[in-house]
Symmetry: C2
Subunit: 576 residues, 2 copies
């Protein structure tokens, strides 16, 4: 029995201390032992405090992607009752999805059950595996439908009331209404997509191995087309190339010559959101690897065996036979979000608009973050009169530079484009900007306007990345944690159009850099401060960053051991 008790205890340690933050040696096959310390703290349900509170505020979180999960992980205040509604009962570490398509990493290694993520929370969490299909802002409730397989007795409908609603439902793939894409192309947004792609690649190779397949048909079946030259498409093409050359070529030696990977991009270059050096490096590497990059090529139609593109250079439409198409051209809006936008009057928009505090515009107590929302930044020009009058305390209609001293920080915080503009113009501070425009020491509203006229051009939307979603989730949770204290002592900038201060600081995105893995153990990275790093060493940086960002110790160990397994044994090509 003592072995069993040791087993239970050891397990307990890891279950009870998800916060151990040093890299641990997990597996020691030869020694057979696992070093661990004992802990017999009884199991906590997280429901202990529930009875003490009279009425908890009900927070409903829609979605368990980066934004929703990050929110749940950072939320600490036991004064909430949290309900999570999502069709996926797990969080998936999506940046590794391209690796899953080829078996560099296993699907199971990048997912963590949401219940296990929130298990140790001090607040009540209720997870519901269901899809929200309607938001009723009038009665403050959401309508949901169960998503389990129907063999358990049809789908269930139910509603969930909320005091606060956090919309973090992400986006779907954008087909630009191209005919045939939904029917014949693979997307790469969900774990199931990645698994399906992996099976299809093997299907292509097995089918091309059959004795009745002609040479021409082999070429078609083994033509893999990737649409979209963004980071996901590029990484998938690179991973597929490695899979074919490092693993499949050995098992299907006669087929290697027939394999062709084509990357279609409508723009002039792949990875166009990256530095030019990275784009060039990637294009050269792909050309060396034999990956066919076709830029200026817009897909107009997909059928079961052919993809038709319109070439910008010639204006002609070309039909290319293929075995598999992966569609990765950016994100589109989910139908439920579309409906919700109509309902709240946000028409003619691509995604939900929020203010800088992630509150959905025109709604009460509804927040939206991640890929389903963008922050509608406030223009300086919109508020210019209000700013002026806030600074102009004695209503003189003219301002001295010194008059701004009190509001300068508030302006910078409320309108971050000001700082960006200063940096771009290489001005030391706001006063220089004002002086710059005029030698006179005094400003009237017209001069003030003209000084700030260019500032708003510096505004741009945040990219739809995991990094943004994750920071937004953490930010919002932090606001929720300090809701009461900040109500009393607001910490945000002055309300230029109203009185007093905003309760919280507005959300500010910190860009930590972006990777573009290019295959062959090479990665490009664009780091803050325009620092570009390319090559094998960057691949190791990529390994470290991704390992450290994984959501749990379990997934971390699994992904690292997957990398080790691939390194030693190659990727598996069993069709399961």
């Amino acid at each position: 029995m003592s072995g069993y008790r040791f087993y239970q205890r050891t397990k307990g340690v890891f279950h009870d201390h998800p916060h151990i933050t040093k890299l641990l040696v997990v597996l020691s096959v030869s020694g057979g032992g696992v070093a661990a310390f004992s802990d017999t703290r009884p199991f906590q349900t997280g429901y202990a405090d529930a009875a003490h509170d009279i009425k908890k505020k009900k927070v409903v979180v829609l979605g368990t992607g980066w934004a929703g999960t990050s929110f749940l992980k950072s939320l600490k205040d036991p004064g909430y009752e949290v309900h999570v509604v999502s069709p996926r009962n797990y969080f998936a570490f999506t940046p590794l999805l391209p690796s899953v398509t080829n078996g560099t990493v296993e699907a199971r290694s990048i997912v963590e059950p949401i219940r296990s993520i929130v298990r140790k929370k001090k607040f009540d969490v209720h997870f519901k595996e269901a899809e929200c299909h309607k938001i009723d802002t009038q009665n403050k409730k959401v309508y949901c439908q169960s998503t389990q397989d129907n063999n358990l007795g049809g789908s269930e409908e139910f509603t969930v009331d909320y005091d606060y609603l956090v919309i973090a439902m992400g986006a779907r793939a954008n087909t630009f209404n191209t005919p045939g894409v939904v029917e014949h192309a693979h997307f790469l947004k969900e774990v199931e997509d990645a698994q399906r792609i992996r099976r299809t690649v093997i299907d292509c190779f097995e089918r091309a191995s059959l004795p009745t397949i002609s040479e021409e048909e082999k070429k078609r079946i083994l033509h893999f087309v990737v649409v979209g030259g963004g980071p996901t498409g590029v990484e998938f093409a690179a991973e597929l190339h490695d899979f074919v050359n490092e693993d499949l070529a050995k098992l299907y030696p006669s087929l290697k010559q027939h394999v062709q990977i084509t990357l279609l991009e409508a723009g002039d270059h792949i990875l166009n959101m990256f530095d030019k050096r990275i784009t060039e490096f990637a294009e050269e590497k792909f050309s060396r690897d034999g990956i066919h990059v076709k830029t200026g090529s817009m897909v107009v139609k997909v059928t079961d065996k052919e993809i038709s593109t319109k070439e910008r250079s010639s204006g002609q439409t070309v039909a290319i036979p293929f075995g598999m198409v992966v569609w990765s051209t950016g994100i589109g809006t989910r139908p439920v979000i579309m409906d919700f936008m109509k309902q709240i009057g946000q028409t003619n928009r691509r995604v939900l608009a929020t203010d800088e505090w992630l509150r959905v515009e025109g709604c009460d107590s509804i927040y939206a973050l991640g890929d389903c929302a963008t922050i509608n930044q406030r223009r300086v020009m919109e508020d210019i009169a209000a700013i002026f009058s806030k600074a102009d305390k004695n209503d003189s209609n003219t301002l001295k530079v010194d008059d701004f001293k009190e509001v300068i920080n508030d302006i910078s915080e409320r309108y971050p484009q000001v700082q960006i503009h200063l940096k771009k113009k290489q001005l030391k501070n706001f006063f220089q900007l004002l002086k710059h425009s005029d030698d006179d020491d005094e400003l009237n509203i017209e001069k003030f306007k003209s000084a700030l006229s260019e500032v708003d051009s510096q505004m741009k939307n945040l990219p739809a990345t995991a990094q943004v979603a994750s920071q937004q989730g953490a930010y919002l949770a932090d606001c929720f944690n300090r809701m009461d204290i900040c109500e009393k002592y607001p910490e945000g900038p002055i309300r230029f159009r109203g009185t007093g201060r905003h309760r919280f600081h507005p959300f500010r995105y910190k860009h930590l850099g972006q990777f573009a893995p290019l295959g062959g153990e090479q990665t490009a990275a664009q780091l803050p401060g325009d620092w570009v790093s390319i090559g094998h060493s960057t691949q190791w940086l990529w390994y470290s960053v991704y390992a450290s960002k994984l959501v749990s110790w379990r997934t971390r160990m699994l992904v690292i051991s997957d990398w080790g397994r691939r390194f030693i044994f190659g990727r598996d090509s069993s069709r399961i």
Copy 2:
């Protein structure tokens, strides 16, 4: 670049030396290094010798299960051209399927691509991912149909010629034509089945968590019924119980009380092929664990929500509501085998009959092994006159005991039931058996018959297990390897009904014992010599035996690390 070259070399070592037979420490996260020796032997295609031979004999193997894979692994003679046809392009280590259903082991960890298993073979191997649906013995060819997903352009039909045909297609689940089983129950024969069961278990828990589900409905959804008290059913029930109690109870604390696992067995006891001590231990353990074992209960119907059983004790039919049913009541014949049996006149049989050399009765150059075949043992009584006359060299119609000396070994080998009978009767040798019957020194045919009259009652069919299939595959490959030499110098017993000797020794099964994992880190084992071992130590024996029996170093490392992962982090309950 040196790091890359080290990487390539290290990979090469493991790819080129699949025969390294010591347990290796695979992963060392902290050190970051992998100890390995370098090897730059160029890649061998295995096709090198093809050109030298004038006409190779074409061996077609149907199936990549235990029998087929074991045959391929043991075949060495480069004089064959081997074609493998199977709907699965991988070998699956099926004894771990019950572990896959609950995530103790991952599906990917127990499979190995068949192409990778045969890659280093000296003979030509061509794998075709297809289903054989007809065998044409007249023209010596098999008809096949591709099994890839239809998005690649419909299914392909083709034929493969053979000189020798090895049928190793296994069996399907046996429903005994019970209505509703195919539609509503899960089987546990393929990797996909195990993955589906895993998803369904999570579906049940998620559905039972929805707010609209009544208490009664919760009880139904969380009622897991296992039909069949054989080793697979028992192991699945035990694994499910562990999964629920060790992992799911923590994530779904309010549901634990509603979970019920029921094991239905038509006979009087579960594990009835095992020693009584094991059966008793298992039944007691299950009763302590709260797994409801219902014996004497025969399933008569399954609907989407209810399973109806006829109770032997009361004669009444009872309907039990369920959330999931797993059907594991033994094996049935595949349709293609059924058709083939009709074609060759083997009607009224459950599986293909072969002789002791695994040759299908009534066919030329066709072998069958594994679950799709049984060895039709020759009765002594059938050949009694021939045996007598072979011994009676001088045609005297009477035999002295000494006359048998020359043929005694041949008799024992040709009719293994003789040895079993002697052992059972505690007789030292064949002469004692003959003497036993009569004090006279001389035997006539009638006395000889009566002495051997009980011998044939010792014959019994081999069980449909991985162990039998695997030994048969290795045996047959060994025969194929020595086909020519044994043609010249036959090594088998005398042909009592013909002249000369049989070319090979007949197949002889060596039973190495059988495990029955019972959950909670306890296993029962019945080892040769009626040795029974039960408990935690047997679990470790189980771990060792299964780890050593895995087909490749890759799967071995993966399964061991899966066990380690489960031990530390528990099982994953993400619904993927």
